[in-house]
């Protein structure tokens, strides 16, 4: 499986680390809403189909990426930096693989 890092280009999946479900939303730091925290820490979507995921290019530029992956076909539909702002200058951002 290849993942197209917006900075490094397509790389083997072995260079990446799965960093969890990308649909989770972290409550405000001071929030005391335990249900919201429970949902954030423990609840995971498990769709058969397109899934928002966080991957880190840990064996490369180390950027975290937002990846849309089809869990049935393994097709990577899109990748983007998780941390906005940085745009790679050679139009690799938002790359499709």
């Amino acid at each position: 499986m290849l993942i197209t890092c917006p900075y490094c280009g397509p790389r083997d999946v072995i260079e990446f680390t799965y960093q969890g479900d990308g649909n989770r939303e972290r409550p405000q730091p001071a929030s005391q809403d335990l249900d919201a925290w429970n949902a954030y820490v423990y609840d995971r979507l498990n769709p058969a189909g397109d899934h928002n995921e966080i991957w880190q290019h840990s064996g490369g530029c180390r950027a975290h990426l937002r990846v849309v992956r089809n869990t049935i076909t393994h097709e990577i539909l899109s990748t983007a930096f998780a941390r906005g702002g940085h745009k790679s200058a050679d139009n690799r951002a938002e790359g499709r693989s």
């Binding site: 790389r11 490369g60 180390r62 940085h86 790679s88």
Partner: protein, 200 residues
């Protein structure tokens, strides 16, 4: 300026560094391996949106003009710079003391400077079979069109993280963590036996 009279640094490769020809070299050596031992290896990082200003600072201090694009870089022999991650650059100088030269110009508004002169070991592989040997370790495309002169790449060989700059048509500079350097060096020598190699 560099601090004067600092003693020579110890190489992590020392007991495994054997100058001379090795491996299958009866018909000549196809790669040359060396430790380049630069005096300064810095990591410069720009906050999002400040990359252009950082690139300008790099140009002013080192005289090296970074080309556009992810992983772009330039190598003048004595000095080298390349992008290895979004907003992040490795800057290398033969001489010690480059951090001091940058000290005033990397302001908190632009980004940060981290001195890695001791923490990274620079290994050079050169020769007609350099791409062949590198491809044994790293799953990236080393062909010239895919990996242009001066460009940088971040990748890894199993547990060993590496930044690689193409410093010549058939020459690569590999920056590895110092603690892994000897292990990587041994593996590199082993992998070079097939083509014949010389350690300089």
């Amino acid at each position: 300026m560099a601090e004067p009279h600092l003693p020579e640094r110890q190489s992590p490769l020392e007991p495994e560094y054997h100058p001379g020809s090795h491996g299958n070299f009866e018909h000549g050596v196809d790669v040359i391996l060396s430790e380049t031992r630069p005096g300064s290896i810095l990591q410069l990082a720009a906050w999002p949106g400040e990359e252009k200003r950082l690139i300008e600072v790099i140009r002013k201090v080192t005289g090296l003009a970074l080309p556009d694009g992810a992983g772009g870089g330039v190598n003048s022999g004595a000095r080298a710079v390349f992008g290895f991650a979004p907003g992040k650059f490795t800057v290398v100088d033969e001489a010690e003391g480059l951090a001091q030269a940058f000290a005033g110009s990397i302001t908190p508004a632009i980004g940060t400077l981290t001195d890695l002169s001791h923490g990274r070991t620079a290994i050079r592989i050169a020769g007609p079979k350099a791409e062949w040997v590198m491809a044994k370790f790293f799953a990236i495309d080393f062909a010239l069109p895919a990996f242009p002169l001066g460009a940088g790449r971040s990748t890894n060989h199993h547990d060993i993280f590496a930044q690689i700059q193409r410093s010549g048509a058939d020459q690569f500079d590999i920056y590895v963590f110092r603690s892994f350097a000897r292990s990587f060096w041994k593996a590199l020598c082993h992998a070079s036996e097939e083509v014949g190699y010389e350690v300089q």
